[in-house]
């Protein structure tokens, strides 16, 4: 019997569906999809409740505070909440809900988690500097044919390809 949890959509099918979804998103909102912006707004909100004065004085974080609108009342925040629900739905239908640390058998869980933390940290910094991550800057940026989207895509994937050699032990 084949393992149901390993059955994924054909990537071209998934790509066309998300492409159509992006088209719909552009048609309705005039903008594409995103992800890192939601994390940024969450960080700004958390900092604003812990250290309000510090956050208001911060050159970067104060850009995302306004008197009219709460930073959590934001398109990307709701979109990412939806992503969590949609991914959970897909995972539960396919029987993939499971608490685990996924890693190559050649490395320990601990090593995987240390690298996951470092990777997330770098992605956090890079997505702010690059004004968006793989979803918002690269994918949606490419779909809208912005030069920025293509620079972002080539820079993210180019670097990862070049650096892949040095981290191969973690994956293969």
């Amino acid at each position: 019997m084949t393992d149901r949890s390993k059955k994924y959509f054909n990537p071209y099918f998934g790509g066309v569906m998300v492409g159509l979804l992006m088209l719909l998103t552009f048609y309705i909102t005039g903008r594409g999809l995103g992800a890192s912006g939601a994390v940024k707004n969450t960080v700004v909100t958390a900092m604003h409740s812990i250290a309000p004065e510090h956050t208001e004085e911060s050159t970067y974080m104060s850009r995302f505070l306004s008197d009219d609108e709460h930073p959590m009342n934001n398109w990307l925040v709701f979109e990412v909440l939806g992503v969590i629900a949609g991914a959970f739905l897909s995972g539960s239908l396919a029987g993939r809900l499971k608490l685990k640390v996924e890693h190559s058998p050649k490395i320990t869980s601990r090593r995987r988690l240390v690298f996951a933390l470092l990777g997330g940290l770098l992605f956090g910094i890079g997505s702010q500097l690059g004004r968006g991550c793989t979803s918002g800057a690269a994918l949606s940026g490419m779909a809208s044919l912005s030069t920025a989207g293509f620079i972002s895509m080539m820079s993210i994937f180019g670097t990862a390809f070049i650096a892949a050699y040095f981290f191969r032990k973690n994956w293969i």
Binding site: I28, T29, E79, A87, A143, G158
Partner: protein
């Protein structure tokens, strides 16, 4: 004529409702295509699984072709579509930092949310790392500020940068993508299978 909300055809109050629904579909297809698995994602960098490349280019092309069509039949005003600003230096350096994060962490922000939703503890840790990274960036912003605001070429489009028409560029992009799909298919057959 679209885009509906910027044109005022649908009230902005609906924005978050659409955001949630669009997010559900996005998350469903990301997870369903295998984007919740870091080992599947990393396959593209070692040649054992090209799902990222296939999915990424198919999605971008589908949306780009759809927009040309929508523009042609007059369903959407293409000039009202948001185009990311090209701050060249910060895009490149930010991208390099993200690329390193990708190969070390095995996720990007959207995919880590998918992994986290189905119980991948490494995805939780990656997401936690993002919060810390964004906090560090915010606190250290004075250091980055010069770079962050430098070299802005404005909201330029790739086909304008290359001096060709929108349709011709998208056609060329499709040919490049088909070429890549073909070549990666050959590579994947030659590379040793990785079980995950």
């Amino acid at each position: 004529m679209g885009p509906l909300i910027p044109q005022g055809i649908i009230s902005g109050e609906w924005n978050n409702v659409f955001a949630l629904l669009i997010g559900v579909v996005f998350g469903f297809f990301l997870e369903g295509s295998g984007f919740s698995s870091s080992r599947k994602l990393a396959g593209v960098f070692y040649g054992y699984d090209f799902i990222v490349l296939k999915f990424f280019f198919t999605a971008a092309i589908t949306a780009a072709v759809g927009m040309i069509y929508f523009g042609y039949v007059g369903w959407i005003d293409l000039d009202m579509i948001y185009v990311n600003q090209s701050y060249v230096s910060s895009l490149i350096i930010g991208g390099v930092i993200m690329g390193l994060g990708f190969i070390m962490g095995g996720f990007c922000p959207g995919t880590s949310v998918c992994g986290a939703a189905i119980g991948k503890i490494d995805a939780w840790v990656f997401t936690g790392g993002m919060f810390i990274g964004i906090f560090i960036f915010s606190e250290a912003f004075p250091l980055f500020e010069g770079l962050y605001n430098s070299d802005n070429l404005g909201s330029i489009k790739i086909y304008e940068s290359l001096g060709i028409s929108r349709a011709f560029f998208v056609f060329a992009l499709i040919l490049v993508a088909l070429g890549m799909f073909y070549v990666t298919g050959i590579i994947q057959k030659k590379v040793k299978k990785v079980e995950y």
